[in-house]
Amino acid sequence: MQMTRVLSLLTLLPLATATLTAQHPGGTVVYASGQEPTLPLPVIGQGQGNADVADQLFLRLAVLTPPYRTAGDNALKPMLASAWHRVDARTIDFTIDPRARWQDGVPVTAHDVVFTWSLETNPAVNSDQATLEPIASVAETGPRTVRVTFKRPFSEQLYLFAFGMQPLPAHLLERVRPDSIATSAFAQHPVGDGPFRFERRVPGQLVELRADSTFFLGKPAIGRVLFTYIADATARLNQLLTGQTDVMDNVAPTMADQIQAHADLRFVTAPSSTLIYALFNTRSSTDTAAPNPRLADPRVREALLLALDRDALARSAFGQAARVPEAAQSQLWGWITTGTTVGVKQDVARARALLAAAGWRAGADGTLARNGVPLALTLIYPSTSGARHTIAVAAQQMWQAVGVHVELEPAAFDAYQARRHSGQWDIDLAAVMQDASPATLVESWSCAAAHQAASSNVARWCDPEFDRLLHAATTAPDPVPAWRAVLARMTSQHPAIFLAAPVNLVAVNTRYDNVAVLPVRQWLALWQWRVRPGAELARDR
């Protein structure tokens, strides 16, 4: 009895605390991130959690807008750069918006861009140098003009530089040694040029941002954004259901019912850059110098594809909105193909016939065998991924039905990564976040990557014809058919079974209007969200 009284007393407290907030922050968004934003700076901070906060603090030169077509200059809209013009096929001049100010009042200049470029190209600060390789130089040509020179002509130049560049304030950082920026006072309290300014960080708990009322593109309608840190997805769901948070991204279908039943929550979707596929190792899992004894036969690879009901797998792991792609193409690359292609359907009879043609005969306990060797394969995935666990267990059942025994070997994320790179596996249930640019296919699927140590082409797949088409597509005058040819070639070779291209299912509180979640960098439009008048909660007043 007494316990109940104490508890009910405690439940009244949030109301009491809310009325104490004197500063009237205005509309509030509370978002729980799965990674703690500890260092929300572009170039220096690592990982999604930091990048999400950095997106609110530091502007990009330009933003990518629907249909997110990275080839050509049309899908990019001005942000920090008010204009740009092409000098020639290898040179672009950018003009920084003269209204842009750092939050300490200092104007944003061309020098900030050049300074940030020097950080990006400093291996001690940024390990991601390969993507910057096509850029030859970045130079100040005036107080507010920057000239970028590329090493060769290609169709994604503007996207590569303008979307990737998030300048840092040179006047605050030039005197800090590049490798100690992470521990500097600036990192504790960043000063940006974006719609929100940094208010405070409570380690292990949250980062609080407040709207910058002087933001040159207009005062944000949301007054305050709280990025809290909740590592566990189930805990994040509980936070959302109990009204502690307002937004949850990448909602699993197992959680969708509970959210749907909640009166204060609704769903919005965004094209997701995520792609799930079962990659076939071209090398033997026991002797990585030799070809894979079972999977080298294209008939076996095709049979493994036909054995699967990919629609059911994609739905069980990602819900109704997931698509089944035919090549390495997430929904983000919808501008290449619209995604309406009807793909290969499950055909168990044909799968059996193909395996029989490849010499695999019925063996002991329902597993096929050839010369006394059973058709057994190992499948690896990270044990922390609920979606891939769901797919792995269900796919294993489907493969066993055609006589292929697949041994599941999940591991902690790092052990999984190490295993992928070691080549000691047959099938890798991979998930990638694709870049907006299809040219990044070269990293995981080209012959050059196959020969490079530690590359993400872990299957060592190499098809010279695919490489030729890929190279042609990056410079093609009409990129759409060229990229279609690239993807069609991949489909025909069965280097992997492409399982799902999910949408990003985002649950948001119904009190927000003008809600937009973007692919690639999902919260770039957060500053334009609004709380519907009359629907405010205590935290919004």
């Binding site: 508890l7 009910s8 405690l10 439940t11 407290l13 949030p14 605390t17 104490l20 907030t21 004197a22 500063q23 509030t28 509370v30 703690e36 500890t38 260092l39 901070g45 690592q46 990982g47 291996p123 001690a124 390990s127 991601d128 140098q129 390969a130 993507t131 390789e133 992470a182 521990t183 405070r200 380690p203 292990g204 708990q205 949250l206 709280l226 809290t228 840190y229 909740i230 590592a231 566990d232 189930t234 805990a235 994040r236 509980n238 936070q239 259901l241 109990t242 502690q244 902690a412 994320f413 790092d414 052990a415 990564q417 190490a418 790179h421 990293e443 530690a454 590359s455 993400s456 935290r539």
Partner: protein, 323 residues
């Protein structure tokens, strides 16, 4: 006494260092790509790779990296964390507080409420309520703490909405909130994780205390005191409880490792930003310096715990002082 304390402290430090060395060797020889936490599967050019391999001492021999790590440690430097891009000490400092808060309160409740219940249950061996308490405590111990936690969250937070489902504080609480408000908010967030930890651990001191008191109660001097007509409460206090304290104090020394094990599994259920969840994510990311740093901290805590227990043991049991 002070001579003993000096010797005991020296041996605790030596043991902690040896344990840290063993952990270092173990981590050094385990498979896993130390650069995975830095690169996160992004492409890297060969010269960047080479620079990174040198910076993180990837190709170093065991003696070399051993000397490097413990040399820096001698200056109090735990190195940088590759996955966080910040000094390990900074990361640890942020996670130590929440774990200590949860652990210390669990310890406090276990050794006050738990001991009191144990004494009470021992003094009423025939009482139905006492048996019930003892049985319930065993059930709490037997069900994994994270299952208890999941059920408590589902019931009290998601279904009834009485308490927050996790995290250590309300993010909406302003930085300048009055102390009382902050305290109440902490309390609200503490109830469920603390209840989970206590349910999972209280059986041990409770049952240990009950058994110890029962054992002492059968001793001739207690029977004699009873026969003399000393009131039951006085018998309990003077003759049963004091002697029965010794085994409980021994237990205290074993308690810290147990709390550590508990927090690793409980913190992730409640999104409690402590060392337990940090270790779980750091091992996941193969962040070797962070794992080493956190491991070192736990090793020190364990040694400290057993040192304190030994000290208490000598206070409680005067016979030990002579030894």
């Amino acid at each position: 006494m002070s001579g003993w304390l000096l010797r005991r402290t020296a041996s605790a430090i030596a043991t902690a260092l040896a344990a840290a060395a063993v952990l270092f060797v173990l981590v050094h020889y385990l498979p896993g790509d130390p650069l995975a936490a830095v690169l996160r599967d992004r492409p890297a050019t060969p010269d960047v790779l080479a620079a990174l391999r040198q910076r993180w001492c990837v190709d170093c021999s065991l003696p070399h990296s051993f000397a490097r790590y413990f040399g820096a440690l001698a200056h109090g430097d735990l190195g940088p964390s590759p996955s966080e891009n910040r000094p390990v000490a900074m990361v640890l400092a942020e996670h130590l507080g929440p774990t200590l808060l949860l652990g210390a309160l669990t310890l406090l409740i276990d050794f006050t409420v738990g001991l009191a219940l144990g004494l009470w249950a021992a003094l009423r061996p025939q009482s139905r309520a006492a048996r019930m308490v003892s049985a319930l405590s065993i059930a709490g111990y037997a069900i994994p703490a994270f299952v208890v936690g999941m059920i408590l969250v589902w019931l009290f937070a998601v279904t009834l909405g009485w308490l927050p489902p996790g995290a250590i504080a309300d993010p909406l609480l302003p930085a300048d909130a009055p102390t009382m408000t902050v305290l109440f908010d902490r309390l609200r967030h503490l109830i469920l994780p603390l209840a989970t930890m206590v349910i999972a651990t209280i059986a041990v001191p409770l049952r240990q205390q009950r058994a110890a008191v029962l054992a002492v109660a059968a001793e001739p001097w207690v029977l004699a005191a009873r026969a003399r007509g000393v009131p039951p409460l006085a018998v309990a206090w003077r003759h049963c409880w004091r002697p029965a304290l010794t085994p409980v104090v021994t237990l205290l020394g074993l308690w810290l490792p147990m709390l550590v094990a508990g927090t690793v599994f409980v913190e992730s259920v409640f999104a409690w930003p402590g060392l337990g969840s940090l270790i779980a994510t750091a091992t996941e990311d193969h962040d070797v310096p962070l794992v080493m740093g956190a491991g070192l901290l736990l090793i020190v805590m364990v040694q400290l715990g057993s040192l304190i227990a030994d000290l208490l043991y000598r206070v409680v049991d005067p016979a030990q002082r002579a030894a």
